[in-house]
């Protein structure tokens, strides 16, 4: 993410923020889909955190954890579950101009 992010992140180490997964019975029949957000050099840290809070309803700390994971590791899995909902999340993330993809868990 953006240059501001590089400066701010420093040498801080982070815990894996964890992935929210849906657990409906129907889904267990099919492998889940992942919503993955990828690093880019332009989006601001604060903006990405705000987007994660808005789209997934995550508390600030969890949203920041995912944002730092994207920045430091290049990608973060934000959510996993049914394809339709995953597609909707990816569409919302693209609406905010984040680099997001839908991927099969396997």
């Amino acid at each position: 993410m953006v240059q501001q992010m590089r400066g701010d992140a420093g040498t801080e180490t982070i815990e894996h923020p964890g992935t929210t997964q849906e657990t409906h019975t129907e889904e267990s029949l099919d492998s889940p889909w992942l919503v993955v957000v990828h690093n880019d050099p332009v989006n601001l840290m604060t903006y990405v955190t705000m987007v994660f809070q808005r789209v997934f309803g995550y508390p600030r700390e969890k949203a920041e954890g995912h944002m730092l994971e994207v920045h430091q590791k290049g990608r973060s899995v934000l959510w996993s579950g049914m394809r339709e909902r995953a597609e909707l999340y990816v569409q919302q993330l693209h609406g905010y101009l984040l680099l997001a993809t839908l991927e099969r868990a396997d």
């Binding site: 953006v2 240059q3 501001q4 590089r6 880019d40 050099p41 332009v42 989006n43 601001l44 604060t46 903006y47 705000m50 597609e87 990816v90 569409q91 693209h94 609406g95 905010y96 101009l97 680099l99 997001a100 993809t101 839908l102 991927e103």
Partner: protein, 175 residues
Amino acid sequence: MEICLRENAIEIFDLDPFLAELLRQIPASADPTGGDAANADPEGVRRAQERLFSVPAPRSDREICKEWKVYVEPELRRLFRSATETVAEDLKQLNEPQKPLANHTLRIPLAHSDSWLNALNQARLALHARYNFTDSELCDHERSPVASRRDLSLFQMNFYGFIQEFILRGLSEEK
């Protein structure tokens, strides 16, 4: 230039003509062609298009990418156009007649903040893609803004980022 949060709006005052002109260029900068299709570098335009409308899945997943182009991309285009139109409307404040070279004031209602964040992001991403800035350029905040068109565009990208940061701060203070 000064910027503050006042009465449900972000006010930018003492905005000199140079910075006012950079703000006026937000809608054009958000366009992959940079607002000048005739003279745009086709490779830069392609990169900007690909970044603004990035693929929703690994390219090997052709079915998802194909459906996305048909069903989702038109919606995204509408969303992005709506954001730049709102910003263009707010920017008309900068066209009010006044003395030559006088400083301007711009008032951005917080109700328009999402449109501003979106349009500024479109502009920053498109500029970055068109000019293909390197990591070292992105980290170099001391670069002269007037040495070349490329340097000016980098300054423009950073200036838009500063405005974005302030809007985000305004939104969090509003809560």
